[in-house]
């Protein structure tokens, strides 16, 4: 079993959107996948996965022994091989203990899961540390702006010192950089950092660029992970991310901007 943390430091950059889409993408490939919400107190993974009405028990209930893991895991309505472990909205984040999280991870492994995707809360507090503690790989989500890049750098440093792999001196956590909310047009106009700038600053292998899109907002309002939005650039970009994660060679898409032709400008885009 591989544990993948989706983290960023900064909030609002697309961690939960990415966790939902990425976990769904792995499950679509046939891997038995669990996606775990570590944002205790502010759960929203279940909303984006469209299963908020089916939450009976949550992660904290399991940690505190009030429910079995099998009772708390919710089967995804889109993909059979995907399960969601929602966070608690009412409990204190102190409920996340190292021993508790480790026990849940062991149990997931015993249940035959191939991948566990940990959706980290923003910040560098307890929840974020617990989410990355057992990670084998990390997807660091970054927006094309300086503050987001700086926070990602900070979280990469923490991965290198506070993860179990780092503490025990094992092979370091494998890092992937994911740039989200990317607008090729604004990069072209010099208003945004380009993905090349970001990669140069962070020096972590790029796993993908997700274009800025209204489709993401619609998807999350409807409780559908973005990867299921057939025919959208966002869904394709996330599918590419999953492919690259699994070792396939995919060229980058949606990173260049072409000025609309005169006819398009006159008659509007279709």
């Amino acid at each position: 079993m591989r544990i993948v943390v989706v983290t960023s430091g900064k909030g609002g950059v697309g961690k939960t959107t990415t966790s939902a889409a990425f976990a769904s993408g792995l499950a679509l490939r046939g891997f038995k996948t669990a996606v775990v919400d570590f944002d205790v107190g502010l759960r929203n993974l279940d909303l984006i996965m469209g299963c908020e009405r089916r939450v009976v028990y949550d992660f904290v209930n399991v940690l505190q022994g009030e429910a079995k893991l099998t009772q708390a895991l919710i089967k995804d309505k889109h993909v059979d091989t995907l399960h969601i472990l929602p966070a608690s909205q009412t409990k204190d984040k102190e409920a996340l203990t190292e021993e508790g999280v480790e026990k849940v991870m062991r149990e997931l492994e015993a249940m035959g899961f191939d991948y566990v995707v940990c959706d980290s809360p923003a910040g560098i507090e307890r929840g974020a540390l617990m989410a990355l503690l057992f990670a084998d790989e990390a997807i660091v989500v970054t927006n094309p702006e300086v503050s987001s890049v700086r926070d990602s750098d900070r979280i990469l440093g923490i991965l290198q010192s506070k993860s179990r792999r780092a503490i025990e001196g094992r092979e370091p956590v494998k890092e992937h950089l994911l740039v989200t909310r990317y607008s090729a047009k604004r990069v072209e106009e010099g208003e945004m950092l380009s993905y090349k700038d970001i990669q140069e600053l962070l020096r972590v292998p790029l796993i993908g660029v997700i274009p800025e899109s209204d489709a993401v907002l619609h998807a999350s309002n409807q409780g559908v992970p973005a990867i299921h939005l057939k025919g959208t650039d966002v869904a394709e970009a996330y599918a590419d991310v999953v492919a690259r994660f699994l070792g396939e060679d995919k060229p980058l898409r949606f990173v260049s901007y072409e000025k609309p032709s005169l006819i398009k400008r006159l008659f509007g885009s279709t």
Binding site: D151, R154, Q160
Partner: protein, 251 residues
């Protein structure tokens, strides 16, 4: 395995703090600027607190407050020096040795002058501290040093094989060599080594310092050195020290 316990005579290195102040509050005031709130500036080195320079001893001294203060800086106080006997009982309660006279033969002590932490002006000509640099092993850092990370080499040089990022801090008693982008705060010669240098292939730090003489780049770097091969060294002109920051001419 043998269970024999052996007691051997040994020497170990530590830090001597010479302080004319014994009030934790006053010390915190004075040192605040220098460390700018950096917790655990030191790396857990044992320390002897030398109070020989204290003029007027108060009746009561907050020894536990003093110990706590230096612990916060990352030192482990093991004893004191230059303290009147009247405080012996108080020191004993805190398990601090009163190391007067013979117990402690201080070598030509090298001042461990920490670098300025919160500079306000751009160039600060200062009288550098003298010190003896010793041969020590070099610290190689193979991964980028990231925001919030600190590399501290109390002895010897640091070689950054993958550069450093904005918000990182590199402190070395010796020189700092950097392959790749050099960003963040870079302090060489932290023990007072005037010969220390900073050498980088892609120069662009927020602050550089050698032996306590520092410079910031609030308005950006001149084009002649920005992101280019650069070395920084200390130049003494008529007793005043300045940082010389110059591009490295490559063939």
């Amino acid at each position: 395995m043998s269970e024999e316990v052996r007691f051997e005579s040994g020497r170990f290195e530590g830090i001597v703090v010479r302080s004319p102040l014994v009030s934790p509050a006053r010390l915190a005031d004075v040192l605040h600027k220098r460390f700018a709130g950096t917790e655990s500036y030191f790396g857990g080195e044992p320390a002897v607190l030398d109070f020989s320079e204290v003029r007027d001893w108060p009746e009561q001294v907050d020894w536990s407050g003093l110990v706590a203060f230096f612990r916060r800086l990352g030192l482990q106080p093991i004893g004191v020096r230059g303290v009147p006997e009247s405080f012996d009982a108080a020191l004993k309660r805190l398990h601090l040795a009163n190391l007067d006279e013979a117990a402690l033969r201080l070598e030509a002590a090298r001042p461990t002058e920490p670098p300025p932490a919160a500079p306000t002006s751009a160039q600060a000509p200062a009288s550098p501290q003298t010190g003896t640099a010793r041969a020590a092993s070099t610290k190689f850092i193979d991964r980028p040093v990231r925001a919030g990370q600190q590399i501290y080499a109390p002895e010897g040089d640091v070689v950054l094989m993958a550069g450093s990022n904005p918000g990182a801090e590199i402190i070395a008693a010796g020189s700092i060599h950097c392959w790749g982008p050099l960003r963040g705060r870079v302090l060489a010669g932290a023990g007072g080594n005037l010969e220390a240098r900073i050498v980088a292939t892609h120069f662009g730090p927020e602050l550089v310092s050698i032996a306590g003489v520092y410079q910031t780049f609030e308005n950006g770097l001149p084009a002649s050195i920005a992101n280019r091969p650069v070395q920084v060294k200390l130049q003494v002109i008529q007793g005043q020290s300045h940082l010389l920051i110059e591009p490295i001419e490559t063939i």
